[in-house]
Amino acid sequence: MMQWLTGGRLSEDGVLVWSGDPAATAAAAVVCAGVLFWAVRRRGTRRVEELALWLGAMLTLLWAIADPNWAEETGREEPGISVMLVDASRSMRVSDGGRSRSEQAAAIVERFGDDATVLTFGDGLITANDGRSSAGGTDIGAALEAVADRYLGQQLASIVLVTDGIDRGGLRDAFAAGSMAVPPLPGPLTVMQVGEGAALQDDAIEAVRSGGFAFLRTPFHLDASVRGRPGARLELTLRREGRLVDTARVTLGDDGRGEVRFEVTPTEVGRFVWEVSIPVAGNDGVPGNNRFPVVVRVVRDRTRVLQVCGSPSTDQKFLRLFLKEDPSVDLVSFFILRTHQDFGAGWYPDELSLIPFPYERLFTEQLETFDVVVFQNFDYKPYFENGPDRLLGNIAEFVRNGGAFVMIGGDRSFDLGDYAGTPIDEVLPVRLGLTGVSADETGFRPALTAAGGGHPVTRIAGSPSDSEAAWEALPEQDGMNLNRGLARDSAALLTHPTLTVQGERMPVLAVREVGAGRTMALMTDASWRWSFSEAAKGRGNQSYLRFWKGALRWLVADPDDRRVVVQPSVENLLLGEALQVTARVRDAGFVPVAGARISGWVEAPDGARSPIDAITDAQGSASASVVPEQEGAHRVRIKVEDHGTAETVFSVTSRDPELAEIVPDEAFLNALADAYGDRGVYVGSDSGNAPLRDEDATRKVNESRVVALSSVPLVAVLFGAFAGLAWWVRRRNGGH
């Protein structure tokens, strides 16, 4: 009966815990005090007895509200458990000996795992063992630390590590470096290796090092690391986006490794995929690592400029000084110092230091070695006697293929140089073919156009308005070559203040994109005044320098800085991953074009095309998501009506870093077991040996009991008794 009233027997080791709400308890205490005050105010006999009974009732009520609990902690010891740590990394998918390594691991679990807790691991600990190899890499050290943490304070009867030993988390590297530091474990470790190295052949390109970028026309190296059977002779093939570039042979060393260096001289600026590959043998364990593609971005280190001038002049002098003093420019100048008209001046050829003008060589075989060709007051007719249209055609083709061409005014330039109707005319940003007067010798100050305000060539100050003010402050030009207005796809950056053509101000400075190249026409021959006359006023020559620097930068712009640009979000990705292809569209004045329709495709290595169709936003940009389905080099090409085309490349590979090396590392696993001394042992997967056990290992199982002292029956009985008796005494002695 008493056991029922008090809630059972209470242990002496328990502790009292008050669980009631302090605020509620305090409020109840106030109410109880009020009840006692009410009781003490009664007149008559037995007031003391009544007050004592009410006090007992109120204390019982307060006890219940304060909610005391009696908490008792108890525990018991049981034998330690066994844990099996099973490698679930992707290298466990490799088949050797007729079964995959994960199947071999499953057999071990089946044999020894009846009483064990089975955990899987990859880069870390995975608690559920679903029987599949689904983790990423392999980090054995992290997995052992996770087990120690998980069973902190316990002793384990055994820990069984089932793995191929290809650790990528750092423990193996540390062992290789001489360290034997291992995570402390709560039980003896048994290392069971799966996979047989002897049964496996895997030739692989382990890495191709390129540095990621290269300089135009400068040789760079692609260094390939190869692995395979010791002493094997392998042939490596280098391709650039599918086209054969070079081959090389290597004989692997005793360690089964070899190095091959390819030297490549890029001739174009942009992104390109180079791929090194080796043949796939019939019994190759991982064919996917027999090829290694890398994207290399080719950039310019120096801008190679060819300056050809028909007559030395002050304008030519200042441009040469600028180009010569710019360390980023590699300048080749050819000045026509003497024409056929000067032959009769009475000087003997041997007195002269002149050299012939190698126009044939320059504009045929050497043309592609330049980034920018400048014709400064140069008339071609007296010199290009061997096929002038062919040589000028070479220059036009050079532009269409990505080169830059500048024509600067003078009495030998534009229509005064008879360029109308030539291939050069087809790529200039101004139209030629004037009849009659072709030059105006009246001084004028060029006006900046709206397009010129934001264009990189004419932006010689921080903002378009500052640029406009700067141009207005520059000295006048002495005259200009006339023209018939802008050519197609061209923009006028500076115009004549009064001369017009077809209702528009006549262009003085115009730019154009032609194919992959760019052209610029400056219709005056006195830009030197922007330097020298400014210096006279003590303002230096910054405007002149900024103008020509801006012009050079724009002329040789990389593919990423053209009017229409397309870029992948990543250049190298794994098969199945998604990437974003982003296009950016600007007009001839480099103002973003909104609402432009972008059409194009992503071409896979087998020629299959995935269409791209998008509309640019207010910033002139549009993106499309692509999920490539094939390995190899993919080419993206887009077209924007009235604005041009652009293309880029990216590389897709099925190379899995986890599969770059697949031969089990028996030596490491042996060393790992040895590192734990007599609490570690290595056994092969087929040995049948049972795991090492610690039969004395125990673990404590904790239990706890909480008795709610406020809700035991005794509390209700006491409260009823005290309150009832108090009321009875009160009524018998005159209370109400």
Binding site: E351, S353, I355, P358, D411, A439, D440, D478, N481, T524
Partner: protein, 250 residues
Amino acid sequence: MPPEWTRRSVVAGMAALMVPRPAFGLGSGSLFNVAELEVPGASIHRPEAWSRMLHEVIQATSIEADPAIVRVAPDDPALFEHPFAVLVGDGALPEFSDAAIRQLRNYISYGGFLLFDDASGTGRGAFAASVRRISQRIFPTRPLSPLAGDHAVYRSFFLLDRPVGRTRGTGVLEGIQLGPTTPLMMCPADLSGALDRTADGRNRTPLVGGELQRREATKLSINLVLYALTSNYKHDIAHVVELMRGGRLE
């Protein structure tokens, strides 16, 4: 494969195209001209000498020039209209004002070319001393120094080995080097004295070496103009290699 050309073939090709072309520029800015620095009481005015030099330049080279000579003071901002300036004298020059020195520094630093011509023909007299003093004020850290025998001014058009003017063998060209160029030079041989003419076109001064010496002086004057416009162009590797291939330079 393009034909391997030779000097002879190019000359022949050029000769075959003897079509006269009218020479004119796009206004005055495209014509090369000369400004004489005028220092009252000290400088010598020899416009006919420089005009003759420019006529020779027009005749021998492709340069379009205006033979009209202008005179400007060293502190006159109009100097910046003429990127080639000369100062001829045979005695001590007065101290230039700070404004003149500042302007000459700007003029030379930003692309101008200044030639001091020692009309004494010695290169060691009071004029030369004044030039050294003025040069030091313009560029305190860059002394006026003799130009090397392979300086581009000696091969800018003609192959020369020494300066020849009214006098010869009196010294070498001296100059101040700024980066790859020598924009300030002093000729010790009275170059303008050899070129100067009377109003009726006759030589003003007979020369010890006769017309052969005057021819050499003319060649030097043309070289100076070509150097002023093309600076170290003749040191560009393409030209050096070509001249060595032709056996005209070792």
